[in-house]
């Protein structure tokens, strides 16, 4: 018979999304998790199995809570500039970090990231009525703009050149 969990799993996973979304996987120690998530080490292992187990749960939560709604919003994008603005202003920290930090080393993470990006591509393709490859290029450009910084300036400049698409 297991003891009752003395923590809110939902809150812990939400905090893990923030923590893993702001720092590389190897830069987050179990001590960091215990400190920031307010959960005992033993409970953490018992509930999630391992640090990677918690990471996968957090990544899937991020995709459901942040990337899913973004795809819904993209479906209503009026034009390419609107789509770029939606992607560059969304909370995608963990998705971007997962793509560069963990996906190359973890097939399961790579598959989750690929599915999420494909969902965004499809939403853009459907909303703008453009070919899938062009929608993928728009997603890539938007994520690149996020990494580059100054999303408003760079995004606006790109959007002006994309006007003919609309």
């Amino acid at each position: 018979m297991g003891r009752r969990r003395a923590f809110d799993e939902d809150e812990v996973v939400h905090a893990a999304v923030k923590l893993f979304g702001g720092r590389a996987y190897d830069g987050v120690s179990v001590n960091d998790l215990v400190t920031h998530l307010g959960v005992h080490r033993n409970s953490l292992y018992k509930t999630f199995g391992s640090k990677r187990g918690l990471y996968l749960v957090a990544l899937r939560r991020h995709l459901a809570d942040d990337v899913g709604p973004l795809a819904d919003a993209l479906a209503g994008a009026a034009d390419a500039a609107d789509a770029l603005r939606l992607v560059t202003s969304a909370d995608l920290g963990l998705l971007v970090l997962a793509a560069v930090d963990r996906a190359p080393a973890d097939e399961e993470v790579a598959a989750e990231v690929a599915t999420a990006l494909a969902t965004l591509d499809q939403a853009i393709a459907d909303a703008l009525g453009v070919p899938a490859a062009l929608a993928a290029a728009l997603t890539a450009a938007a994520l690149g703009i996020r990494l580059r910084g100054n999303p408003d300036g760079v995004g606006a400049a790109l959007a002006r050149h994309l006007d003919p698409l609309d």
Binding site: N42, Y45, G49, S50, K51, R52, G53
Partner: protein, 116 residues
């Protein structure tokens, strides 16, 4: 120190040198189906370990053997906490194993890859 290997569908942990004496165990064999994951966790050595029975615990020197904490049994074999790996189990005598291994990163990858 312990060595960890995957042998068919099983995780095999072998205690090395005198550790098999302190730990009261020379090896453990766990079906992979009962292994939930592995994590490098140098910070765990600073946590409360519970009540030891049987085994050895000289704080700061060696923690080896079976420890009872919060209704769980945890197997420890650690001298150098910087090389500690936690292997979480299900439906086993031990809830988790805390082992010192030569290369925590490689051991974690070995176990996690075997579970995928």
């Amino acid at each position: 120190m312990a060595t960890v290997r995957i042998d068919g569908g099983e995780l095999v942990v072998v205690m090395e040198g005198l550790d098999k004496l302190w730990a009261f165990k020379s090896s453990l064999t766990i079906p992979l189906a009962n292994v939930r994951g592995a994590t490098a966790d140098p910070g765990i050595a600073a946590d409360p370990k519970g009540i030891r029975a049987p085994g050895a615990h000289l704080p700061g020197v060696i923690t080896a053997g079976t420890f009872h904490l919060d209704g769980e049994k945890v197997f420890w074999d650690v001298r150098d906490a910087s090389k500690a790996v936690v292997i979480e189990l299900a439906d086993e005598r031990y809830s988790r194993l805390v082992l010192q291994v030569d290369d925590p990163r490689t051991t974690v990858a070995l176990v996690e890859n075997a579970l995928r």
